[in-house]
Subunit: 779 residues, 2 copies
């Protein structure tokens, strides 16, 4: 099959598929104790929210990525979900380990609550039965569930070449009469069987739960040794979660994986025999998944296997999201290996697989013997056999993952490279609880530093990242339709809203936007509504404009091209000018546009009022790059400190830009007889340039609560005049404290950035994403 794959597919096609991750984690306090507090209400209905829900316990959060075509997206989204959750759980932490922290006795565990409707009651009853059957502590074990399918294109192409594809017991010819669904089932059944055969290797490579807390199940604790305070393990332990102490059925169950029909029948047999209550209770390390999970058996039978769920993967404590990108890459190779590798006809393969798992889970760090088709083989030899095959697949198909495989080869040779070993060492130093809490604190801090962005979506504008984040948090289904254009869709209850650049929505009408886009029409409409705008004239001809110069001599004016770009072509005469200067300014302006404006110059400072649905939700003022002295440090040192703020970065991927001490700043300081070594006095503010653009290190300052209502009302009226629901109103105010101060609206913006209000340099962070969701009627 390898040769056929090579012939049919490019490496990119082979690495595509559909990849989703579910990750559970316990909410704990800073002592590592399981939280008894309610699931945060911001995440909404646990049943409706497809991204963030609970598992068994109220304090057991489960995050779920949608299926992505590229594994990188899946990885990033897992981290993004972590960031979102971590910021909403107050002073709690997300326990970064499969085995729980400090857990109470069963009667104290707060089972997840799903409300009082039928579905909610059922969910509760089901959990109640589990606690009785398996005990609550086991239910608190967390893990990674890895969902995957090959791409449809890949399976279709294989199907079209089915006569060349051999399965166990089949010749290619026998595939001739197989239909697409059956063919697909055969593929996934083969992968499943091989997964069961070789899963021990995954547990070895990814296992990370070799220690338990004293509060864990007595029998498990008692059979282990205390390696640090209240921290118990046995020599060589690798994954308690995958061991007998983990989450298992009462007795080993071996479903039939020969065909979907036989699989279904064997499961129904278990249920009839009262071994399990439903298919859900089969704690197999891999599950066949249908299209429609709600009609599990019917859908599996009629639609075939849609995807597989691998359930053997421990939380990786060294990864915020719980699994590393390289491990995910390795899984892609592993999947291809499972697809390609021929199957043996050894009858007791399922029992052997279980046995190998148990040995590896409990003693995997030691040198030990496993079994292969009934024959003993060392862990290392068996592992190397598989890994070398994978290496060969990688080479043959040009998948470019050699380094990852080599690292795995090193790991099979040296148990000190396992996650289990590394976490054990940390536990020995800090204790089980402290070690994990310390890790959780680092992750939570990183989530805070990331609060303005959405991991994996950093190529999008910050405003769009914020809106996506607020949506995901609430279980609103997000999709990015066009990354370059920041075009997304948000869906809730079958209601789809398309949004471009966070504020371009279906809720504003088109001509409203066109009015705002056109400065002179905007001014006309505002003036018609008795709102102050800079008075002035528009001219299409330099001769016409020159004719009226005498009306403007000595008057404070601004002369500018009608369509200004970054301030080019603008002349400002704060104190008025003579005829020649005005003429010159007209010529400059006409060099930039066929139409120019001569406007009165308005004194004061500029404030951005963000108006959403007749309410001012944020007011921002920008000041040029500056530092404030402490009487000790030089300008260079003060800038360095100010630049450490995670809100500051380079090239607009953060809400603020780092201050750069360039030639401009040098010149600007020189005019004040200062240089970069100057030590400002305590509280002395030194400005480093004239312009207040954020792009050159300027500060944004929130004034939402400081500006009098009168001006807010004017901003709202301006937005209303053009019928805008989302509108950035740029207002000049001579003295913002004084209600009677002169004002003028100089521009309306139809695509106001929201991130500047969400994450200002100084002042309250405003949650504008939520305001946009309200406009969209999605919350």
């Amino acid at each position: 099959m390898l040769g056929k794959l090579k012939e049919l597919f490019s490496p990119q096609e082979l690495l595509k598929g559909n990849f989703g991750i579910e990750r559970e984690s316990l909410r704990v306090n800073d002592k590592g104790e399981l939280s008894l507090i309610s699931h945060p209400s911001v995440f909404g209905d646990k049943i409706e929210n497809g991204y963030i829900t609970t598992d068994f316990a109220e304090g057991q959060i489960e995050v779920i990525t949608p299926p992505f075509k590229n594994i990188e997206e899946t990885y990033n989204f897992t981290n993004a979900l972590y960031d979102i959750v971590a910021m909403e759980i107050g002073d709690e932490y997300l326990w970064p380990q499969s085995m729980p922290g400090i857990v109470p006795d069963d009667d104290k565990i707060r089972i997840a609550e799903y409300g009082e409707n039928n579905k909610g009651k059922q969910a509760r009853l089901y959990r109640q039965s589990l606690i009785e059957k398996y005990g609550g502590k086991k239910q608190l074990i967390c893990g990674i569930h890895y969902n995957f399918s090959f791409s449809d294109d890949m399976i279709t192409k294989l199907f079209n070449n089915k006569k060349h594809i051999h399965f166990l017991g089949d010749s290619g010819c026998s595939n001739q009469d197989v239909d697409y669904k059956e063919f697909k089932n055969k593929i996934y059944l083969r992968v499943t069987r091989n997964y069961l055969r070789y899963r021990w290797l995954l547990i070895y490579l990814l296992g990370a739960s070799g220690v338990v807390d004293k509060s864990y199940i007595k029998t498990c604790v008692n059979s282990s040794k205390e390696i640090a305070q209240d921290s118990f393990s046995n020599e060589g332990a690798l994954s308690y979660r995958n061991s007998e102490c983990g989450y298992k059925n009462k007795i080993d169950l071996f479903p039939n994986y020969n065909s979907v029909d036989e699989y279904i029948n064997s499961l129904k047999g278990f249920i009839n025999d009262k071994l399990i209550d439903s298919y859900k209770e089969l704690y197999s390390c891999v599950r066949l998944k249908p299209k429609n999970v709600d009609k599990f058996f019917d859908s599996l039978k009629n639609d075939g296997i849609q995807y597989l769920e691998y359930r053997s993967i421990d939380i990786n404590p060294f990864e915020k999201g719980g699994i590393s990108l390289n491990d995910l890459y390795f899984l892609q190779l592993f999947n291809l290996f499972l697809l390609i590798n021929d199957e043996s006809d050894y009858a007791k393969w399922q029992e052997e697989g279980n046995e190998n798992q148990n040995i590896i889970s409990k003693f995997g760090q030691k040198e030990l013997m496993l079994k292969k088709d009934g024959q003993l083989i060392t862990k290392e030899a068996f592992g190397l056999e598989i890994l070398n095959k994978i290496k060969c697949i990688n080479e043959e198909l040009n998948l470019d993952k050699e380094e990852i495989i080599n690292n795995m080869i090193e790991k099979i040779k040296d148990h000190k490279l396992t996650y289990a070993y590394k976490i054990e060492e940390k536990v020995k130093e800090e204790g089980y609880i402290r070690a994990h809490i310390n890790i959780a604190k680092v992750y939570k801090k990183s989530s805070y530093s990331n609060r303005f962005k959405l991991e994996g979506y950093e190529d999008l504008e910050l405003s769009t990242q914020i809106l996506l984040k607020e949506s995901i948090k609430r279980g609103i289904t997000v999709e990015v339709l066009d990354r370059v254009e920041n075009f997304i869709s948000l869906t809730r209850n079958n209601k789809v809203e398309y949004i471009k650049q966070a504020t371009k929505t279906s809720k504003d009408n088109y001509v409203t936007v066109l009015i705002m886009e056109n400065k002179s029409v905007t001014k006309k409409v505002l003036a018609d509504n008795n709102i102050n705008v800079p008075k002035g004239i528009e001219s299409n001809s330099i001769n016409e404009a020159k004719n009226v110069i005498k009306n403007f001599i000595g008057v404070p004016i601004v002369i500018k091209p009608k369509s200004t770009n970054f301030g080019l072509g603008i002349s400002i005469f704060k104190e008025g000018a003579d005829s020649e200067s005005i003429e010159k300014a007209l010529e400059i302006a006409f060099n930039h546009d066929n139409t120019i404006l001569i406007e009165e110059f308005i004194k004061g400072k500029e404030y951005r009022f963000l108006v959403i649905d007749d309410e001012v939700v944020g007011i921002l003022h920008r000041v040029p790059a500056n530092v404030k002295g402490d009487g000790v440090r030089s300008i260079t040192e003060l800038v360095e400190i100010k630049n450490q703020d995670p809100l500051r970065g380079y090239h607009y991927v953060t809400p603020l830009e780092k201050i750069i001490l360039d030639e401009n700043a040098k010149l600007f300081l020189k005019q004040q007889n200062k240089d970069f070594n100057y030590i400002p006095q305590k509280d002395e503010v030194i400005y480093l340039r004239e312009n207040s653009n954020i792009s050159t290190g300027g500060d944004s300052i929130d004034y939402t609560d400081d500006i009098p209502d009168k001006f807010k009302k004017i901003a709202v009226e301006a937005a209303r005049a053009v019928n805008a629901r989302i509108c950035g109103v740029d207002m000049m105010l001579e003295d913002y404290c004084n209600e009677n101060s002169n004002y003028a609206i100089i521009e309306l913006n139809f695509n106001p950035a929201i991130h500047i209000h969400c994450y200002p340099y100084k002042g309250v962070e405003r949650n504008i994403g939520v305001e946009v969701l309200k406009v969209l009627e999605l919350i």
Copy 2:
């Protein structure tokens, strides 16, 4: 004052003001008989429609321009209103003459009807009283009313320099205590008095009603001579309308023009003395107009004189709109003369003005004596005195109108240059009725040729001109906010709608437009709604794209940049291509955009479905430039004939472009072994180029009634999928006659041109402007 004007103002400022025209005309049949048919219902409520209404009789249309700042706009709008009206009166004509055509006896005249409400009844009663007092025939006389005011800026600047402005009996110093309103009143009163003194000259220069029909008032006919069949005049007659046979009060009335208060008092005196019923009945040749005409006296007193109305101007039969642009320019100079010229203190100036008017109206073409301040003076000497003063004003103030004044000087010297003489000559040849009907036919034909455009607005896109025209027709107030951007507002009953480019309205939401703007998002949304779109992939990297080339070898495909501009960078492989050709095409596409599309090639022809509010209101198909043979003419000759269609022009000012026989056409014909001299057989169609663009002389053909409903429904669904109310759907159809034919939607357009459907080369002209007005809820 002349010196002060020169000092304060540029020529442009002096020529600005507010200028409006009212023009009456009788609807007549092709025999010249007054129409008894109802006013066209498309013009709506006569009281509400501010542009098109009736005057005295139901068959007497009055068109009214809004006030414009430039006289050119006023002129153009007058013509535009003519065009609009002429196209809505069936097989009737607009009588191009102040004196009526064939009029019935009073009891047969259909008085204008205004409905049965109070206002309507009053209007009717008023007209009833007029017919009784003055007779119906006089009420049918039509004319031009010229409304004007100086610009506010001009009056303000004069006011600010009031100590240098001298009025009759005043020194500049006496102005010191005058307020703005009083100052403005003084200006207009002085102009009014001078108008009354010098109006005889205007009547001479613009008079054009020197003949009457036999059916006119007996006493007038009887005192005249038959100069052609049923056509009566007296020797030297110039303006029956301004003569004793015209529309006058029973006795001469002389209001007091010294001040507004005295004016009001004198009018009230006339009313008290039962000489007139209301101020409206004072048939003065000039009227002082207040801000609020409904509260005439109060507003005149409180707000002062707002503008003046000159009422001496005859319809100019040689102008479609009834007045020439040069005559309007002359009026601007005349107004300045009236403002500047010092007044004499001759007491009987009003009587003298009347007397001069009567003499000029009745005998103006002859050499005769007038009176000036009680002294006899020849018409020519008096006229030259005035015109030379005007010439001096023109020179001093650089108004650049010397030629116009010189023409007037020629006219005062030679009566054969008067309109009256010229129309009289025509009447002598053709008879009064025929002469005017022949003129009316020419104008109506010109209105038809203009049907796709709005005179004075040719710089706007045709779609916008069409929308403006449909609005004006219905009395919806139009304003052009930004000519370059085709940004207009339409107002009805205080409801304002802003529109850009005819189809960008408040009724479509912003994100709908953004979806349509983005081809891949559009495709995604359509596909999600189960609407056929060309299948394909999008790629951001040439390497990624090259990786999938093998999937497309031999398949009919189109490779194109994501944002196509005029077809640049597109490769079409109708029969599929090999690997190298595809690679090459990818490179070409990537040269035009960072993102490219590989799409299946859809067979068939492209149709533009215009969907408005869930209905297909037009379907258009375009074919390349072509001619159809008659077996006689060469290609060159056939093109020449085809190009005569007024719908064809150059540079997109017409719905279609003229065919140009250029090198491309030559080459294209050469491939068919033909040249421009080839004579196609009867009905042989010769295509002159490959592309079907209208811009290269292509034909547009309406298919609205030919395409099966199934495809219309699909187009509607496509528009609905993106929630568009106005949407151009481009659909490929393999065979439009066959409902089962394959189709695919290749693009949605958010700014579909409407003019192509309104004025196709072949097929029904669709009134899309009305559809847009419906969407806007303005009708």
